[in-house]
């Protein structure tokens, strides 16, 4: 029919204009809020907000008030700043061997630790060049002791390339919020790294440290 297709097209865009459910834009990193949105986002009741901070209230009425907004991410999101547990790492360098880009550099020396369970190396150097990393996660898959986990962050921009090389000091001091990617033991606990809760080294892996009796039994059977 003449012109009906045109009217149909107009109706589609009219629905976009009218229905709020059609709006899918996430405002990041700051979201503009109105007065009600501001009281909801800050958790302060509306009358209290008006008395306490009248300037911001007026600003929010003018559409100028902002609140922080983070992008919703899946717990299995593979992000920056690897979570690495020094206590779990034996220095086997599997991660360095499996890395398709060869960006993990490990230098070890004999430490004399844990001679009963097997030699553990002392790590002199553990550098990951994140600037060249493609976040495939093969190093995490290769780690036999679940010492290395993918991180969960994505706001790690720097001004220089060399700042993207993560050394051992940075890895130790980094936030321990591992991604649950390739870590079903974390996923089964319903762990969400984006809620900001840190995981300790003994809660992160499959391999629990055997008790003294188990160790003695194991050695006695030898």
């Amino acid at each position: 029919m003449y012109g009906l297709g045109l009217v149909k097209g107009l109706m589609v865009t009219a629905k976009n204009l009218v229905l709020p459910s059609r709006m899918m834009t996430v405002q990041y990193p700051n979201r503009k809020v109105g007065l009600l949105g501001l009281s909801k986002a800050t958790g302060v009741p509306l009358p209290k907000l008006l008395l306490k901070d009248p300037i911001t209230s007026v600003k929010s009425l003018l559409g100028m008030a902002e609140v922080k907004e983070s992008l919703p991410q899946h717990p299995r999101f593979r992000g920056e700043e690897f979570s690495w547990y020094e206590q779990r790492c034996t220095g086997c360098a599997s991660c360095a061997k499996y890395c398709p880009l060869g960006i993990i550099e490990i230098v070890t020396s004999e430490s004399g630790d844990q001679m009963q369970e097997g030699q553990k190396y002392h790590l002199d150097k553990f550098d990951i060049d994140i600037g060249r990393c493609m976040f495939c996660g093969l190093c995490v898959e290769a780690c036999p002791y679940d010492a290395l986990h993918m991180g969960s962050g994505f706001e790690e921009g720097t001004y220089r390339r060399q700042d993207l090389v993560i050394d051992k000091r940075k890895l130790v001091s980094a936030k321990k919020t591992p991604s649950t990617w390739f870590r079903p033991q974390l996923a089964s606990k319903k762990y969400d790294p984006h809620k900001g809760k840190n995981v300790k080294w003994d809660g992160a892996g499959r391999h629990e440290k055997p008790s003294l009796e188990q160790q003695q039994e194991k050695w006695a059977k030898r």
Binding site: L6, G9, V12, T13, L17, M24, T25
Partner: protein
């Protein structure tokens, strides 16, 4: 009528001239004229440019909501300062002229493009009269002045020594000239019913808005006008997916700002014209004053333009020319004939057509509109034109099924 008189006594050319003429000696009449012209120029330019800046914000916000995203909302309350940011960004850029360009024409084109748009606004009646008082040939003036834009577009495209600019300019000339004809014929119909050529007299004659009296003329006029200002269904002058940017490909900096300003000014002017010719201008009901009615009606038309821009895709070149010559031209001629016969039968005297006459015309014209649109599009529509059976070249795919190729070549030979 009293309301009109109150508003009329104020701000137009004669009013300001009279105000200054009182305390100036007669020998300084030229100075009074100059001062009056300058004041009017400043007022018109500022009013139009500011409303254009507001329109860019309005259009981008609304377009965003139509496409389920947010428009500009960062800079100022609700993003209202975004036009200023854009302007600063454009004015601080380097103003380049391509090597080998025709420099005088290249520089002149934006000014030639801008001036008519500003001049048109001086005759549009915002209240009882327009800024220039009551120009008695307003309709002809508007039609004549707006066609200068075509020249400016061609100047810009030709002088920049760029093939895409040239393509855009050639398309512009072909399209703008084609669409001027149906637009002019509908305006003749309006003048015939209103029995006048002055814009404010047209408004005074509209006891019933002419959108009801002549729906066919309204449809043709709004289609032709949106083609004239080259907005989305007809924006192949600057089709960004094919030509880069069309005629202003080589422009940058302040010149580009002028071109863009004019382009965003066009919807305001067309909306104001549509309001004047078809929506009974400043006339309204209740205590709301006339200029507010005018702005509200203009705003509704602008909303329609943005809605159309958000929804409809661009037409092809041949479709656009076909629509102008096969669709709009016959429709406008039918409209003119019907209206002329009606006016001849009613034979208005000094006072113009009465309200009863207009209501009878409304009834007849709605029927004519529906029948004419169906008839024209049945006769000349795209669905009626037969397409040739596509013949695949046997060389196109050498390893294809040879039987199919044979069948196709047989078919081609049989025809």
């Amino acid at each position: 009528m009293t309301e009109i008189l109150i508003l009329r006594s104020g701000f137009d050319f004669n009013g300001i001239y009279g105000f200054f003429d009182e305390f100036m000696p007669d020998s300084l009449d030229w100075l009074v004229f100059l001062i009056t012209s300058l004041i009017l120029a400043i007022v018109i330019i500022n009013a139009v440019v500011l409303s254009t800046a507001l329109l860019t914000w309005f259009e981008r916000r609304l377009l965003g909501r139509f496409q389920s995203r947010l428009g500009p909302n960062r800079w100022g309350p609700f993003g209202l300062l975004q036009p200023i940011a854009d302007l600063v960004s454009l004015l601080t850029k380097e103003d380049t002229i391509p090597e080998g360009a025709d420099k005088p024409i290249f520089t002149l084109a934006p000014i030639v493009f801008l001036a008519p748009a500003l001049i048109v606004f001086s005759v549009i009646p915002l209240h009882g009269g327009s800024f220039l008082g009551n120009l008695n040939v307003g309709l002809i003036f508007v039609i004549a002045i707006t066609s200068i834009n075509t020249l400016a577009v061609f100047m810009a495209g030709w002088s920049s020594l760029n093939k895409y600019a040239m393509f855009g300019a050639m398309r512009a000339v072909a399209m703008l000239i084609s669409y001027e004809i149906p637009m002019g014929i509908t305006v003749v119909a309006v003048a015939l019913v209103a029995q006048t050529l002055g814009l404010s007299d047209v408004v005074l004659a509209q006891d019933i808005p002419y959108i009801l009296v002549m729906p066919l003329a309204f449809l043709v006029f709004i289609t032709a006008a949106s083609a004239e200002m080259s907005r989305t269904p007809f924006d192949l002058i600057e089709s960004d997916s094919e030509l880069g940017a069309g005629y202003h490909t080589e422009y940058s900096g302040a010149k580009f700002a002028l071109l863009q300003l004019t382009e965003f000014m066009a919807p305001i002017i067309v909306a104001a014209l549509v309001t004047t010719l078809f929506l009974s201008g400043w006339r309204g009901y209740g205590p709301i004053p006339g200029p507010v009615w005018f702005v509200i009606k203009t705003f509704i038309v602008l909303f329609g333009f943005v809605w159309i821009r958000a929804s409809w895709p661009r037409l092809r070149v041949d479709q656009i020319m076909g629509l102008a010559w096969k669709g709009l031209l016959p429709l406008s001629i039918i409209n003119l004939f019907v209206v002329a016969i009606e006016v001849f039968i009613f034979n208005p005297g000094e006072n113009g057509l009465s309200t009863t006459d207009l209501w009878i015309m409304t009834g007849v014209n709605w029927g004519v509109t529906i029948i004419a649109i169906f008839a024209i599009f049945n006769l000349l529509g795209q669905s009626k034109s037969e397409r040739p059976v596509p013949v695949i070249s046997p060389l196109a795919n050498m390893y294809a099924n040879t039987n199919t190729v044979k069948k196709i070549t047989d078919l081609a030979e049989a025809e």
